[in-house]
Every structure is written in structure tokens, then in C-alpha cells.
């Protein structure tokens, strides 16, 4: 009983805090209807033996916190923990506090598979927030499908996938690419594009879609070059020379990880001043997180096409950014994927409450059509294909490492992981 009164006060406190601009994502949607565990007996909401007790529910967090990917994935871990803490402060899910078991994928794909299996088989977690690279997702996918787990995957990725056991909270490739290309063609009158990327599935698939779109849908536009470099490559001088020779209007860059640092520094050193926009640099792989490594002075003036920028101006985002900084430190930056990771626990909460159950099958059935009005990126909705309807935005990199949002699509862009005409 005391438990009940305590959680009611909690809600009030949390609403007040939100009004004060302190704690978080609110909740005009969730806070008012506060759910008590007593109304949802454990045996009714958990018929498949998941780790659900009368007052807790356990989920997994599976990212790399060691190894080369740690620098990228740490933001996702932080965002997920923040979301969990905020949900708990509001009284949890179906009256149950979320507890999490964190496992380290160690930037190693077999380890991801091992840990995913551990979380599902040993710990019986009700859902997992995790993975970052496509390779790690591909490695855990058979595990999730075999043991009927439920994964929230935060990264923008190449598409070509639609698993019943995964909710993709980032953009599939067309959501990130098409609107950005349309914008650069219309606003900047770009006609010639030089495609460039790190050599693996995501940049290749993305550039394939970009090329089809440029050649088939943009009037008179053409691709003047397309090149790939191994992951970790740091010598871009030869391609920069080719670019200067071909004089494209746009350098379309999908370089990832450490290569980014070398690429933008060398671009600048070669005398290509991105602020002059000749050529324009448009990327889909540099978030605020990467700029920290590249240095704002090396990328100032480049454009990035994402669904979220830390500088977005809306109430949800203001609350999210300040809560994130309060929890993890003032020098934190928040990139696109970090925000997408933050949506995971909230989307799961909404689906569980809609289903009135933690059972994976019921949560899956309840998931399409779930809406979040409280997302930092704005309103999002889950499509039947398990991806999110999101806006596409273009940001211009500034000296301080932030993006200035210069364009956003008027409507939400429909996710289309198997795009017709782009295969």
C-alpha cells in the first residue's frame, strides 16, 4: 500500500520537474494514466517465462563498451539508461520498475551473438536495447529469431531487412538519402555528384540508392564518380585529387569511423573550403559524435542528412538534452543514433502498455501504429514494417561542432526497407 502512495507522489514530482524544465521527456501521453502492478498480475502479463516479477521487469542492454565501436555505442548506452531511469521515475511499465542487465559486445560480432543468447536464454530478458553496426545486428538476428527475443536497434542502416523480432528505431537508407538529395538538387541546383564511401554494406547500399535516385529522379543530374575505401583507411589524397579534376557539385560522403577524421582534415588541407560550398559536401555518416573526433574547424560548412540534430528546437528536445547532460555531463553531445536509442525503451513501454502484457508475441502485435508525441525528434510512429515514420532533416556543420538545421521534410517520411526501383 505504501508502495502505491509513493508512486503517486512520484508522478506528481516528475510532472512538476518536467514543467520546471528538469527531468525529461514527458509525457503528456503517459504520465496521467499511472499504472499499478496490482492491476496486472504477473501470471497474466507474462505467460512465457520472461524475467518479470511483481515489481520489476528485466531488459538487456547489448552494446560495445570496449573495442573500436565503444566510442560510437557509448552514447546509445547512455541514452537507453536515461530513458530507463525516466520511465522508472514515472512508475515503470505496468507498475514494474525496469531493471537492466548490461552486456558488452566488445566490438566483436561472435561476442554479440554469444551475449544475445545469454540475455535471452539465461536471463530471460523481456526485450533488448542493442547493437550498432549492421554486422553485429546480422550476428544476433538468428538468435533473436530462434528464441523469440525482441530487439530495439538504434542505428541508421542500409535497410533490406524486416525481422519480426527487431524494431528499427533509426532510419533505413531511403529515409536518410532521398530527401537530402532532393534538397541539394532543388535548393543548391546541384547537377553532378561524386559518391564516396567506406567499403561495406551500408555505404554501398546507400550509394546504390543515391545513384538510382540521382540518375532516375533528379533532372539532368549525374554521378561522376563512385569509390570505396577499406574501413579504417586514412589516405584520401588520391580521391581528393580526382574530385578536384572532376569538379562535382556535390561530394556525397559515407565515410565512417576513424576514416572520417582523416578524410575531412585532408579535404580541408587540400584547399577545399566547405563553407564556400564549391563543391558542397553532403554526408549521411557524420553526427555530432563524429564531429568531436573530426574537429568543428575541419568540417564547418558541410551538410549532413539525419533525422535528428542536437540543436533541434522543440520542447521535447530541450528537456531531453538537459536531462542527458545532467545525467552524463555537460560536455556530452547527442548524435542522431543516440536519440534513436533513447526512443527504444519508450517505444517498448508504449507497446507493452498497449498490449497489456510483456509477452513478446503480444508486444509485437501491439507495436505497429505506436506513436510517440514526446520524442526529441518530434512525433514518430511505428510502421507495420517495424521501422519508424520520421522526418528527414539537413543540418549545416558549425565551428562549435553543432549542426544548424537548414531543412526538414514537411511530413514524416515513410520507411521503405525494400525500395522498389532502387534495387
Amino acid at each position: 500500500m505504501s508502495d502505491k502512495s509513493k508512486s503517486i507522489t512520484n508522478t506528481q514530482v516528475s510532472r512538476r520537474a518536467v514543467l520546471a524544465g528538469g527531468a525529461a521527456l514527458t509525457a503528456s501521453l503517459f504520465a496521467p494514466k499511472h499504472l499499478r502492478a496490482a492491476d496486472f498480475p504477473t501470471e497474466a502479463v507474462n505467460t512465457t517465462g520472461l524475467a518479470v516479477t511483481d515489481d520489476t521487469v528485466t531488459i538487456g542492454i547489448l552494446h560495445s563498451v570496449t573495442g573500436t565501436m565503444a566510442i560510437s555505442e557509448t552514447g546509445s548506452v547512455q541514452a537507453e539508461k536515461l530513458a530507463i531511469e525516466q520511465i522508472n521515475a514515472q512508475g515503470g511499465i505496468l507498475g514494474r520498475k525496469i531493471e537492466y542487465i548490461q552486456e558488452d559486445g566488445a566490438s566483436d560480432w561472435p561476442t554479440f551473438a554469444e551475449k544475445a543468447k545469454k540475455l535471452l536464454v539465461n536471463d530471460k530478458v523481456a526485450s533488448v536495447m542493442g547493437c550498432w553496426t549492421s554486422a553485429s545486428r546480422k550476428a544476433v538476428l538468428p538468435v533473436f529469431e530462434q528464441y523469440n527475443g525482441f530487439l530495439y536497434y538504434p542505428t541508421f542502416y542500409e535497410g533490406l531487412e524486416e525481422s519480426p523480432n527487431v524494431i528499427y528505431t533509426g532510419q533505413e537508407a531511403t529515409q536518410q538519402i532521398i530527401a537530402g538529395l532532393d534538397w541539394v538538387a532543388k535548393e543548391k541546383g546541384a547537377k553532378s555528384f561524386y559518391l564516396l564511401g567506406s567499403d561495406y554494406i551500408w555505404p554501398r547500399t546507400s550509394n546504390k540508392i543515391a545513384r538510382k535516385h540521382i540518375e532516375n529522379f533528379l533532372d539532368g543530374a549525374k554521378v561522376v564518380g563512385e569509390e570505396y575505401y577499406p574501413l579504417g583507411h586514412t589516405q584520401f589524397n588520391s580521391v581528393i585529387n580526382k574530385i578536384r579534376l572532376k569538379k562535382p557539385d556535390v561530394i556525397y560522403a559515407i565515410v565512417v569511423g576513424g576514416s572520417n577524421v582523416a578524410f575531412y582534415k585532408q579535404l580541408k588541407a587540400a584547399g577545399i573550403d566547405m563553407t564556400k560550398e564549391s563543391p558542397i559536401v553532403l554526408t549521411i555518416s557524420v553526427t555530432e559524435d563524429e564531429i568531436r573526433g573530426i574537429g568543428g574547424e575541419n568540417i564547418e560548412g558541410a551538410y549532413a542528412c539525419m533525422k535528428y540534430f542536437q540543436s533541434l528546437e522543440n520542447e521535447n528536445n530541450a528537456a531531453f538534452v538537459s536531462a542527458f547532460k545532467e545525467m552524463w555531463g555537460d560536455d556530452m553531445v547527442i548524435g542522431d543514433v543516440t536519440q534513436a536509442a533513447y526512443l527504444g525503451p519508450w517505444l517498448w513501454k508504449a507497446a507493452v502498455e498497449k498490449a497489456g502484457s510483456f509477452d513478446v508475441d503480444k508486444v509485437r502485435a501491439a507495436t505497429p501504429g505506436i506513436e510517440l508525441t514526446s520524442a526529441p525528434e518530434g512525433y514518430v510512429k511505428v510502421h507495420e514494417n517495424h521501422h519508424l515514420w520520421s522526418k528527414t532533416r539537413v543540418g549545416k556543420a558549425k565551428l562549435d561542432g553543432q549542426y544548424e538545421v537548414v531543412f526538414e521534410t514537411a511530413d514524416l517520411v515513410e520507411p521503405d526497407p525494400f525500395p522498389e526501383g532502387y534495387q
Binding site: Q102, D104, A106, P110, K118, S134, A139, I201, L231, Q423
Partner: protein, 375 residues
Amino acid sequence: MKRSFSSFMTRQDMVGFAILAVVIFVLLPISLDTFRLNLFGKYLTYAFVAIGLVLCWGAGGILSLGQGVFFGLGGYCMAMFLKLEASTPENTSIQSTPGIPDFMDWNQLTALPAWWEPFHSLAFALFAVVAVPVFFAFIIGVAMFRRRVGGVYFAIITQAFAAILTILIIGQQGYTGGVNGITDLRTLKGWDIRTDEAKEILYYVNGVMLFVVLFAAQFIRKSKLGRLLIAMRDQEDRVRFSGYDVAAFKIFVFCAGAAFAGIGGAMFTLQVGFMSPTLVGIVPSIEMVIFCAVGGRISILGAVYGALLVNWAKTTFSESFPELWLLGLGALFIAVVMVFPNGLAGVYSEHVAPRINRLFNKSAADMAGAKTPAE
């Protein structure tokens, strides 16, 4: 059964083999659930590599930092077969070209490359699991040992091979699956390898294969060849001046190590359900040397325990301390090297074996006399 091996096994060896058999076939299965057992099955696949390293490095003095190459080649051969079986036109109907592996379709390939075709056959794939690593080991061996490249130079060159193969696999993603590797393997000749039952069966198959490899390694060590290897490690020139073809012996033992690693790789693919370039490169290759060093590079049984211990520690530390586990593992290595330079096998032969011997001599002197008159 065991007694027929007594010509190449001392009583101590037999005790060691028997204990390991009990551990693998009795203790682990009864004390672990299927998930953990499957993990130990995975650890044991690394033991295949470590055994090969004991022969090459511990006995022959050839330090290879590229054993991951052979592990990977074996694993990829197995994965190619399984992937083709999983890529039936019905399963892949969503692709623009149904019937080819999904990653080929993503990379705009429209037909199966010719060199993939033979991997429709299980017999060929099993043959390739051993033959491909041996073939590459033979080429490397001939190129290096005939020119008398040895020691640290050889180690560096094997590292280069590991790097080259990784880059090749990642770069040729249309043919190899790239960074993602070959994933989502389902059945072996219609038998679902993902079920708990299959995992247990595969664990035992893996155990049996491990013992086959252990016996082969024991045979090599106790044969004249094994003695020559040790002689070469200690005084290569003397062996050469005695008229032996040093390079041929080195090539042989290097190929044997590669074959073992290839078998381990194939067992890995079967039990884990995929293969990726992260198991081929420099880091896993060095890790495999560490398994061997922790186990004690002179003992083939020690290598098995080393692989088990290090990987078990890795899993346990990382589950308990997801952000600090690497430090714990590093401390373990430092401790082993400083306190027990000969690894687990050293601990065994210095502290445990004398006691067992005493026990035997006291209570079973007559038994030993009756059963192994050769001693």
C-alpha cells in the same frame, strides 16, 4: 582401448587424457545447461588451434601469429556449404535474384560465382575444411622454410597473411559477406543446427573430433618426427648437418597445425552459426597464441585447458564487469606469465604430477607392472 596406445603414451599422458575426457564428456555436460555447454563447445574449437600451436611453436619452435587464417578458412568452407543450403529459392524469394546467398544479392551479384558451386556438396566442403588451410599452409611453408625464414620474421609474415586475408574478405564482400561475415546458417543436410538438441550433439561431435586431433598430435610428438622437431627447435643447424631436410619437417608440422585449425574453424561455424572476418585477423590469431601460452606451450593437453580457461574467464569477467573486464583479463595474463611461465602445464608438471605419481607408485606399483610391461 586405451592400452593399445601405450606405445606412444606414458602412464602420465594416459591419466591426463582420461581426466580431460572425463571433464569434456562427463563433468561439463552434467554441470552446465545447454547454453553454457554450447559456449564451452565454442571455447573448445579454439583448442584445436592451440594444439596445432603446441606442435608448431612448443615443439617445433615455429611461432605462427596467423593461425586465425587457417581457423577462418576452415570455418568459411563450412559456412559456404551451410549458407548455400540456407539460400534456397523459397527462403530468398524476397531478393532480386532468388537462390543466391543474401549478401551477394545486396552486392548486386546476379549469379553464384563459379568457385562457390562445389560447396553445394557436403563431401567437398568437408574435404575443403582441411584441404584449403593445408594448401595455404603448404604454400606459405614452402615459401618461408625453404628460404630458411624463421623466428620473428616468420611470425611477422604470418601476421601479414592474417591482415591480407582479412582485407581480402572484407573487400570482396559480394563473394564473402564482407564485414558481416556469412550469417544466418540454419541446417546441415536438413538437420536444424540451431536447436538445443543439435547443440548438444554438436558439442559431443566437437569433443570426439578434439580427441582425434589430440591423438594425432600425441602421435606426432612421440614419433621420430616429434623428436626431430624438438631437436630442430633447440639446434636447427645440427639437425641439418645430420642430413635431415629441416624445411620439409617444418612444412609438415605447419600444415598439420593448419589442418587442426581448419577443423576447429568448421566446428566453430557449426556451433556458433556464423563465420566472420573478426575470427581471421591479427587479434584473434594472437589470442590463440595466448591460449596456448596460458596452457603451457609444451603440452597439448595444457593447450586445451588454456583455451577453456581464458575463454571462460573472458565470458565471466565480461558478464560481471562489462566495462572493466579487459583489465581483469590482462591482469590474468600478466599473473600467469610472471608466476607460471610454463602455463598451466607447468603448474601441473611441477606441482600436481609428482603427487599423482607418488599416489600411483604407492598404491598401484603392481598394477603398473602388470599392465605396462614396456615401462
